[in-house]
Every structure is written in structure tokens, then in C-alpha cells.
Amino acid sequence: MSEIVLHTDKLCKSYAGLRANHNLDLQLLRGEIHALIGPNGAGKSTAIAQLSGELAPSSGRIFFNERDMTSLPVHKRARMGIARSFQVSSVFDEMTILQNLALAVQAHHGHSFRFWSNINRHRSFNQQAHALAEQFGLEQLQDVLAGELGHGEKRQLEVAMTLAGDPQVLLLDEPMAGIGPGGSKNLTRLLDGLRGRYSILLVEHDMDAVFSLADRISVLVYGEIIATGSVQEIRDNPAVQQAYLGESEESAHAQA
């Protein structure tokens, strides 16, 4: 469990003097679920965007399997095995669930400069897409347009699409956002089922989900990581309590 898959070295991102990320030294170990938490505006999404390649860092480096990939574009990182989900569902509304997933599968099977055969009849892509739909309990809905799905199902599809092509790293940006307690429990169970097979960096506000899923937690405040450790270590860390979890959590903890 101690092998490092993805790590950053003094990663900084600032916008016109505003420090969004400052000297991030983040280490994602193989097979762990690593939660990245912090108050709004702490720079969590900025960190994800830099790891996925959408934002170029102001300084610092990013390594994937010991290889420097700081300057690689988004699509190359995705092909190397770093998949991300989006905070705001980012699926293809005008395509069915199966087509969404098949497109995600297609991304990892060579080039797509194939101009003749009907893609809807591509057996291998459809089979893999169907398997993913099944894994996320979406197989009944697989012929429904993504735009017509409920919010919770869309979130599931959002995460399911990251699994196509069997990536090593999943960067999940608030997968539970806005799905309510029931949907959150369901998705927590699904993510728990991925444990060990993928290295997951989980940005999440839902603390129940974070505490039940995370092997380790890093706390980001004002763009800096103030603590990294196990769930218990983070709960007990006075700096974290003060900066982030707040008094209510402290008292809740005292009661427990």
C-alpha cells in the first residue's frame, strides 16, 4: 500500500496575486482512497484541475508513477490512466447512457479515425459500456438519454464514465454534490466497492461519506495542506478542528 502513484512537489497556482494552491505536496498511494477536504474556496477544485491538466501550475511539479507529467495535456494524462469526474455533471446529454459509456470506452481503444462502420453496433464497446452500466445499477436505464436522467443517476453516470479504460487514478470532484442522503449512501457504497482497485483522490463535502470511505485525509485551507493523516488523526488534530471542522464537529466528537 505504500507505493506512490501520484504526487506533487511544491505545486503552486495563483491568479493575479491570489494564492489558490500553495506548495502542495500531495501523495496518492496505490489503492488508497485519499480524501481532500477543506472549506469552500480552499483550492480543492484547483488542485484537481492541475492534476488532470486543465490548469497549468504557476510552479511546482506533478509526478505520475515517478514520471514528470507537469506539462502533459489533459487527453494524454487521461490516456495514461488518470481519470476525473466533474463537480457539475459533465455527461453527454444528447446521448444515451450506453452511448456515454461507450464513448468513454472508445477513448481508450486506439484512435477514432474510423469513418465507416456504425458505432452503435460496435459490439466490444457496447459490451464494456453495458458492464459499467451494470456495475452502477444503470443497466435498466441504459437506453435513456443522459439529459433525461435524474440528478442522482447523472452523478452515478458521471463516476461510471471515469472507470472506462481501467485507469489507475480517479480524481473525483465532489461526486456526492447535491444528491441527498439516500443517493449519497448509494454512491458511497459504490465507491467503497472500488477500494483497492483504483487509487482515488476524493474531493467531497459530505463528511459522512469522507469519514466512511477515506483511508487518509488531507486538509486544505487557504490553498495549503495543513494536515494529512488517517481519519482519526484528522479528527484529533486541533489545527484542523479549528480551521475547518469547527466547533460543532468538536462537540459531536466529544459526545461520541
Binding site: 495535456p73 489533459v74 446521448m95 477513448a107 481508450h108 452503435n120
Partner: protein
Amino acid sequence: MFELNRKTIILSIALLALVLLPPLSIALDESYVISSMSRVLIFAMAAISLDLIVGYGAMISFGHAAFVGLGAYTAAILGFHFHEDIAMFSFPFEFSGSNQLLISLLLAMLVAAVVAAITGMICLRTHGIHFIMITLAFAQMLYYLFISLDYYGGEDGLVMLARNELPWVDLADDSQFYYLCLLFLVAYLVLSLRLVNSQFGRVVRGCKINEQRMQALGFNTYWYRLVAYVIAATGAALAGALLANKTEFVDPGLFSWHLSGELLVMVILGGMGSIYGAVIGAIVYLLLEQIFAAYTEHWMFFLGPVLILVVIRARHGIYGLLQKWWTANV
């Protein structure tokens, strides 16, 4: 594969009507119709090619006429050199034009592909309104370039002494030329439908819906969009080369933003992202133009409201309305 539903029936009737048009119009002594319908068929091809990028790739090009113009001028210039017997170039071999249709078409597509690849590399770094403006800018550059090409007629344009030649077909005969255009249109329609439903087509559609997600999935969206842009340009050039043969005359107006705009209107009127819609749009637009123009020279004044009505009432164009009708009752 073919079920007997409303769609198949309507498409068959439409095709039959197009096939029967020449003998009917000759019988009715209205043979000029053949020539003007050839023009419609050619524009339908150009509209399809524009729909490939506008409707499927969200690349709203306001300079698509440039490729029609390049195709037309390629055919005309080849013909000019052939008839005047002046070498176009003499190294590495001497080449003095051609009057063979297949050579004209191939070279027209090649020229358009090269220009589209070069300009596309720049245009596709932009999106949305910037893409519209930069495609317009490139088309206007070509427009002024051809105005300044005095050798090929400059602003006055260039007359083709005769239509191209093709074995076993007499292009000078309007009916035969019409059938050739119809054949090309049907073939291009089928090819385009295959293309948009292919693996490549799905990637281009994905780029239209959500390019950011496409990149996150691992697609190098830039290259897919560029290839789509080049493919669309070759289609427009094909139409352009046929158009030059039809009118036996080309002028820089072919590059103008008027024509680019008209092509966009055809695509929107017929229904974006449906291929068939582009054909319907071209037919309806050009027929309305002719009908209104017969009564008044301010025909745009009357065509405008029709367009506004379609855009407001039917967001998926005329094809969208048809589609609703034949899926609702089957």
C-alpha cells in the same frame, strides 16, 4: 433493413420526384427547370458539408463559401489552361490544365483540403463567436485574393469555355448533367450519414456537446475537429467544382460572406445536425427565393419572416417537424 414506415415512404417519393423531374419538365415544356434544379442539388451538397461541422461539430463557420469558391475556381482554372493550352507549371512535369471532370473534382477537393488544413489549424484554436469571425476573415481574404487575380479575370470572373468531360456522359446536356448532380448528391448524402454515425462521427458529436469532457476522457479533440473541418471543406469544394461546370462561369462572389450566410440559412432552415435537413433546407430556400423573386426584387423582405418563423417555432428545422410527424404515428 428498410421498413415501410413514413420516413422511407417520404424519402422514396422525394427521390422519385427528383428522378422524374427532367422528363416531366421537358414534357411540360419547362426545361429551364432542369438547370435550376441542378443548382439546387449542388447547393444541397454544399449545405450537407456545412451541416457536418455546424450541426455535428458546433463549428459555426461563416466562411464555408470559401471552399465552394476554391472548388469552383479550381475547375475553372484547369479548364482555362486546357482550352488556352497554357502551362500551369512546367516542373517537375508540364501541366496545362484539364477538362476531365474527375480530375477537376479531385483537384478541387485536394486544394480545399490543403487550405482547410492550414486555416483550420488556426481557426480551431478558437471557439464560438471567435470561430465565426476568424472563418469569415479567411474567406474574405480569399475573396480579395481572387478579386486581385487579374490573370484569372479578377473582379469580372472567369468564363469556362465548356463544361468538363466525363466518359459516357455528355455534361453539356442539361438532363445528363442534372442526373450526374443527383447521383453525386445521393452518394454524398449516404457517405455523410455513414460518417456521422461512425466512430469518428460520435467523437465529433461529443466535442460539440462537451469538449472538456472529451479531453478528460482522453480524446485529442483538436485533431478530430480539424479532420472534420477538412472533410467538410472537401464536400464544399466538390459542390463548387460542379457549380462552376453548371454555370460555366466563376467569379469572386463565390467566396463572399453572402454565400456563406445563405448556406448557414439553408442548414438552419432544414434542421441542423440531420444531414437530410441540409438538403431540405437548400431546396426550400432556393425555391422560396425563386418564387418570391418572381414577384419582387425585394424577395429577402418576404423570405426573412419565414426564416424567423422557422427558427422560433421549429428549433430543429423543417426536418425536425417531419421527424416529429413520422415518429409520432408509427
